[in-house]
C-alpha cells in the first residue's frame, strides 16, 4: 500500500501528538452526520506526517464502521473503502500518510486493540486518538494512545498489546489559525469588554487547575490505600511540581513583600 520510508521506521518512540483544528472539525461533523443522538461511536482514519517522535495529524476522513452492541468481537470496518479513499487523498497531498485512526469513544472500547491491529497493515506504529465530541470538562478533547507489547513479569502469559497514553496538543499552521479566528467570530460574543473576557478566561484556567489538583489528590489517595500500583515516574513528576513551588517562608521575601520602601 503506502511505501513507508526507512527513516520513519527508525523505531523512535512517540513523544507527542499534534492535532490540527481541521481534524477536530471533520470529526465533529462526522459524528453529527452519523451518530448524533445514538450511543454508537464513529471511526475514521487520520492522515499526517510523523518525524522525530512527533506525529502531526493534519487531515482525516470517515470510514464505514459497525459493531455489535452486545458482542464486542463482532465489528466491521470497510478497509477497501479506506484504500480507495486514501489513494484519492494521496493525489491531493502526497506528503500525508496514514498515521493512525480516530474514534469518538468517548472512552476506549474492548475491540479497539483489534481495530488497531488492522491499521498496522497500513502504518507500522499507528496512533489512536479518542475525541470526546461532547466534552463536559475543561481541557482539550483529544486523548492519544499507541500500542505497546507488554510482557508479564513471570513470562507465563503470552505478551499482550496494551495502549499507552501519549500527550497530545492542538496546534495549527498560521494559515489555519486565521481560519479558526474567522470561525470563532461567530462563536465569541463581541459585546463583552476585554477586561471581562480576560477575567473569565483566568477563571476558566483556575477551574482547570483546581480540577487537575483534585485528580492528583484522588490518585495519591488510591495509591496510599493500595488500590493502584505505585508508579515511580508519576511520583517523580509530582516531586518536581512541588520542588518548583517557591518557598514563601523566607524572611527576606516576607520583608520584600510586606515592607515599605521609602
Amino acid at each position: 500500500m503506502d511505501v513507508v520510508k526507512a527513516a520513519q521506521l527508525s523505531g523512535r518512540t512517540l513523544e507527542k501528538v499534534v492535532v490540527h483544528p481541521l481534524v477536530l472539525l471533520s470529526i465533529v461533523d462526522h459524528y453529527n452526520r452519523v451518530a448524533r443522538d445514538t450511543r454508537k461511536r464513529v471511526v475514521g482514519v487520520l492522515l499526517g506526517t510523523s518525524s522525530r517522535g512527533v506525529v502531526d495529524v493534519t487531515n482525516s476522513y470517515a470510514v464505514p464502521f459497525e459493531e455489535d452492541d452486545k458482542d464486542p468481537r463482532i465489528w466491521f470496518l470497510d478497509h477497501n473503502y479506506h484504500e480507495s479513499m486514501f489513494s484519492m487523498f494521496k493525489r491531493i497531498n502526497a506528503k500525508e500518510h496514514v498515521v493512525g485512526w480516530y474514534s469518538t469513544g468517548p472512552k476506549l472500547k474492548e475491540n479497539d486493540l483489534d481495530v488497531h491491529a488492522l491499521f498496522t497493515n497500513y502504518v507500522p506504529n499507528p496512533v489512536l486518538v479518542i475525541i470526546d465530541v461532547q466534552p463536559k470538562e475543561l481541557g482539550i478533547p483529544t486523548k492519544a494512545y499507541y500500542a505497546v507489547e507488554e510482557v508479564k513479569e513471570n513470562a507465563t502469559q503470552k505478551s499482550q498489546k496494551v495502549f499507552v497514553h501519549v500527550p497530545s496538543e492542538i496546534a495549527a499552521h498560521e494559515v489555519e489559525e486565521i481560519g479558526v479566528e474567522h470561525l470563532l467570530r461567530d462563536v465569541k460574543d463581541t459585546t463583552i469588554s476585554t477586561l471581562a473576557t480576560e477575567v473569565s478566561s483566568k477563571l476558566a484556567a483556575l477551574k482547570g487547575l483546581d480540577a487537575r489538583l483534585t485528580e492528583i489528590r484522588g490518585y495519591l489517595d488510591l495509591v496510599i490505600e493500595g488500590k493502584l500500583p505505585l508508579n515511580h515516574e508519576i511520583l517523580y513528576h509530582l516531586q518536581d511540581v512541588f520542588n518548583l513551588l517557591p518557598n514563601l517562608n523566607v524572611n527576606e521575601l516576607i520583608k520584600a513583600f510586606a515592607g515599605e520602601n521609602k
Partner: protein
C-alpha cells in the same frame, strides 16, 4: 437478472488440510469459491461479491463486496490454514458487511463453506438464523469435510430458521473423487432463482478458455425469449455496423470479421436490458408491438434504441406484407447472399420501393429527402447495400427528430 450482494465465508481452519477432496479440502474450496464469484459477476455485472475468513487469524473480511473479479481472486492468494472456525461470529460479521453495501437495492446473501465441526449450540444457530431472516438476508450453506453426528442437523436447523420462500439452501457434499465445484454447479446455489444454469454452464466452460458455450451465453432451451431477443438485437447491430462500415470505407463485404463480432458481443450485452423488454413483447400482437416501440424510444436513445425501434418497425411491417418481409429479411443479412441480384432487381422497381416505404410507419413518401433518395437509387439499382444504408439512416433520422 437478479441483483445480489454476496458475502462468501471461507473455512480456513486446520481441518482443511485433509486430502479427502482432491487435492486438498482447502484447494477444492478455493476452486468452488472462484467458480461462484465468476458465476455471480457474470449473471449480472452489478452483482457484488465479498470474501471473508472464518478461521486463521480470526474472523476477517478479506474483500468487501465489490464487482471487481480480479480483486476477489487475488485476495484468495496466500491464505493460510490454521486455528478453528468461528461460525456464529463469521455470519454476524458478514451480515454487518452486507449492511454497508453500496447499492441498497441489492439482495443480501451469505454463502458459508463449513468443513470443520460445528461447536455451537443448535439454539445459538437458530437465533442467528432468525436475526438473518428479520434483516432479509438469505443464507446458503455448503456442508463438506467433517461429518459428526449433529453437524447436519444443526445446519439444517439454521437453514430452517433463515429460510423464507425457499431462498436459502443447504448442500451436503460427501467426500470422494469428484471435485467440490462440480457438485455445486448442479445445486440451487448456482442455479439461483431463475435460469442461471445456462450461466453456470457457460461459466464452467469459460473458466479457462474465455469463450462462451452457447451462441450468446444463454441456453435457448432455458430461456428462449431471451435467446431470441439477443439474436434479433445481434442481427440488428450487425446491420448497423455494416452500414457504418460501408459509409466509412466504401469497401466491399467486410462483414463477419472477428472484431465486429466482438463489438457486437459487447453491444449485445448492453442491449440485454431493452432486449428483455423486447423479447417479452415481440411475440405478441400489434398493440404490444407499438407499446414496445414506445418503450424502446423512451429508453436511452442512441443507435441501439433506434435500431431496436427500427427492428420493431420492420417486424411490424413484415407482419403485414409477405414480399416486404422477404425484402427486409434479406436486407439485414450478409450482402454476400446469392439473393443480391434478385434484390437489386426488386429495388429497381420504383413502385415497389414506394409501396415498401409507404407501409413503414413514420415515412412520408412526399418528403423531399425520400424523393431524392428514390431518385438516386433508381439510377443505381444494383447497389443493394447503399439502399440498406439509406433506409436505415433515414429511419434513424426520422425517429431522432
Amino acid at each position: 437478472l437478479l441483483l445480489q450482494s454476496t458475502m462468501i465465508c471461507i473455512d480456513n481452519s486446520e481441518w482443511m488440510r485433509n486430502g479427502d477432496y482432491s487435492p486438498s479440502r482447502f484447494q477444492a474450496q478455493a476452486d468452488a469459491v472462484n467458480l461462484i464469484c465468476g458465476a455471480k459477476t457474470q449473471s449480472n455485472p452489478e452483482n457484488t461479491v465479498g470474501v471473508m475468513t472464518m478461521a486463521g487469524k480470526g474472523v476477517r473480511v478479506l474483500v468487501t463486496p465489490t464487482s471487481d473479479l480480479g480483486k476477489i481472486l487475488a485476495c484468495m492468494h496466500g491464505l493460510e490454514v490454521g486455528a478453528e472456525a468461528n461460525l456464529a461470529a463469521a455470519i454476524q460479521v458478514a451480515q454487518l458487511a452486507l449492511k454497508h453495501r453500496q447499492n441498497k437495492r441489492q439482495q443480501q446473501r451469505i454463502i458459508v463453506f463449513i468443513g470443520s465441526p460445528v461447536t455451537y449450540d443448535k439454539k445459538v444457530l437458530e437465533t442467528i438464523g432468525k436475526k438473518l431472516k428479520k434483516n432479509n438476508v438469505a443464507l446458503d450453506v455448503v456442508d463438506f469435510g467433517e461429518t459428526d453426528d449433529e453437524k447436519p442437523e444443526k445446519l439444517e436447523a439454521l437453514i430452517a430458521a433463515v429460510n423464507s420462500s425457499d431462498s436459502s439452501h443447504i448442500v451436503h457434499v460427501p467426500p470422494g473423487d469428484h471435485a467440490l465445484s462440480d457438485v455445486l454447479i448442479s445445486t440451487p446455489i448456482f442455479t439461483g432463482e431463475e435460469g442461471g444454469s445456462g450461466f453456470a454452464a457457460s461459466a464452467a466452460a469459460a473458466a479457462a478458455t474465455g469463450a462462451t458455450g452457447y451462441d450468446f451465453g444463454v441456453d435457448p432451451n432455458v430461456d428462449p425469449e431471451l435467446a431470441l431477443a439477443l439474436r434479433l438485437s445481434m442481427e440488428e447491430e450487425r446491420a448497423r455496423q455494416e452500414a457504418i462500415a460501408k459509409k466509412a470505407a466504401e469497401d466491399n463485404k467486410d462483414q463477419a470479421s472477428s472484431s465486429t463480432d466482438a463489438i457486437m458481443a459487447e453491444a449485445e450485452l448492453t442491449l440485454n436490458a431493452p432486449a428483455d423488454v423486447d423479447a417479452d413483447l415481440l411475440k405478441d400482437d400489434d398493440d404490444a408491438q407499438l407499446l414496445q416501440q414506445a418503450l424502446a424510444m423512451s429508453m436511452d436513445e442512441g443507435a441501439s434504441g433506434a435500431a431496436a425501434v427500427a427492428d420493431a418497425a420492420m417486424a411490424e411491417a413484415a407482419a403485414d406484407d409477405q414480399d416486404l418481409a422477404l425484402a427486409l429479411q434479406m436486407s439485414v443479412q450478409d450482402a454476400e447472399a446469392a439473393g443480391q441480384s434478385d434484390m437489386s432487381k426488386v429495388f429497381e422497381d420504383r413502385s415497389f420501393v414506394t409501396s415498401i416505404l409507404n407501409s413503414l410507419p413514420g415515412v412520408d413518401p412526399n418528403d423531399p429527402s425520400v424523393k431524392d433518395l428514390l431518385a438516386s437509387l433508381h439510377g443505381q439499382g444494383e447497389d443493394l447495400v447503399l439502399m440498406v444504408t439509406g433506409k436505415q439512416n433515414y429511419l434513424q433520422n426520422s425517429i431522432n427528430k
